[in-house]
Amino acid sequence: MTPLCAALTVLLAPLLSAAVIALLLGRRGGPASALSTLVSALVAGLALWLAVGGRHFSASREWLRFGDFAISMGFQFDALAALMLSIVGVVGLCVHVFSLGYMRDDPHKARYFGGLSMFMFSMIGIVLADNLFMMFVFWELVGFSSYFLINHWHERREAADAAKKAFITNRVGDWGFLLGIILCYWTNGTVSLSGLAAEHAFSRAVALLLFCGAVGKSAQLPLQVWLPDAMEGPTPVSALIHAATMVAAGIYMLCRIEPIMAPDALTVITWVGTLTALYAALCAVTQRDIKKVLAYSTLSQLGYMVAAFGMGSSSAAMFHLTTHAFFKALLFLGSGSVIMGCHHEQDIFRMGGLRRRMPLTFWTFTVAVAAISGLPGLAGFFSKDAILALAYGASTPVFAILAFTAALTAFYMFRLWKIVFLGAPRTDAASHAHEAGLPVTAPLVLLAALSVVGGYLRLYPAGLSAVFAGVHEAEGGARIVILGTSLVVLVVGAGAALAFYGEGGTDALEERFPGLFGLLVALRASFDAAYGWYVAKVQRRVAIALNFVDIVAIAGAAVRGLAGAVEIVGFGVRALHTGRLGTYVYWFLGGVVILWAYAAGLL
């Protein structure tokens, strides 16, 4: 089987399964879930096969042509794509399997798995796309699948709103993305990735506009607001879409178009990423909802990747993307298992002491926490160090902020870990928590393993390691500094968290430093407040005002008014018919006089 048709299969199999589920299996959850999972397994297998095979190829087919303007659909399968594809495949498989357990009793299981397949299709489309138009197509489609899946429990108003918010916020990002693509088309004459790689027409506008897309999809400042709300969706969805793959698509896209990145654009990108990382970490500290904590940590990690890209190393960004995909997916799935255990309880302060009840979950979760906090030897450590090293070389403030963020990361992750797993159960739900079946645990184990080994680059197959060519260990003094820094931040962060948070069912920070806590909460809420104000006070009022104008001025005054005026004239003319011969003959007189005068040339 040639790589090309393998790729085709990888792309189309999920679509097929989604179609079959939508048309045939709409009511039957069991077969639907089975089909979807099998397909995802197939996808994962083929993806790995392609990755290991390391065969790069590209193919393209014209899809739409008007004169000189043509849109084509095609694959560009290189190391980068291979890496992303295998991540999507593996994580996707894990999530599918996990969902078998997690969504076992859901009445709309079929719809859910249909959505998952749809998402797989769209995501793989982005991965394989060989030009920006095609990427945009699937870009929108992942947005749709995300909307669909967040909206899964649509009878909950929050879920519906979250889905809406996610899609619209992404649309805002895509506004820039599309403009960027169009501008890129007219400036470079092409949008195919290979073509752009050859072009090297650095354009700040193009770069920044395209970056808007990444800002939306990867939830960077100021468009980050949708991601935390997106946690309304089922947890596996959060794991797949809002942690591992879709939100990472932004970074992936940036890496695809690296050649046309203008230097000064990169600075902007760096700072956006850095600030996002810091902001999200600060927000995460105050969260009580387990998924929200993870969501903000996702934001923060995405910030790292963007910053890394901004500092000119797509390798580092992709490296962190990879490891993050593993441990963040693990974290989410772990939290999912916890939530299942506690009968869909998400408030960490109503859990506690789950170490005994759910040992497997506990250990895998611990691995993930350690990995994200950068415990030496685990995946997160290497990737984060690579980024810190970059920052150290690039600019001191960025380095400082990222380091501080790393400390915060350790702090809130260990806070979470301690409050959820250690101590005694605070609710009977927690006390009766129990481990779920194999479908739930197996993915945890697999991902835990990946989170451990994911950091060792030489373990990656040759086909993929090309991506990480740009990842350098820092040398000499720098190396000591980086190493030291990461260890210090880990110890400080983790230690502070462990020391600070007690057994109590309340947030220690809130009690001891209410001011600081309030500040952080306000910081988190500020963006939502701003957008809320805009929507409610500006957009809505303008809309109503315009509606008023449309009804009163155009439809009313202009149209009805004109009609009314004509009618009044009509009444007047009608009144000329007095019914009296005496007046009628004067019409004749007038007529004759006018005609006569005209004949005499007087008029």
């Binding site: 009608r574 007095t578 009296r580 011969l581 003959v585 004067y586 007189l589």
Partner: protein, 101 residues
Amino acid sequence: MTPSLESYVMLSAALFAVGFLGVLIRRNTLVIFMCLELMLIASTLALAAFSRFNGTEDGDVFIFFILTVAAAEVAVGLAIIVALFRARQTVNVNELDSLKH
């Protein structure tokens, strides 16, 4: 010397105008009708003058037709006026305005 053609034409035009004025200012149906007849006759005068001075007979023949037509018109018109008087007891055109607007 004989009066000129123009004097005849102007005379008939003046008669015509007088008739027209009568139609304009009178309110009595019968008088209006008389004035209309006057207008017809006035034009016959001009016709006669023209045919006399241009030496063409068509005019005289035309007068014959005009007179006949006028007579018929008078007959029908007076019949209508009478019938209307029976119905409305008036010949004042200002009071005959049931059809209007």
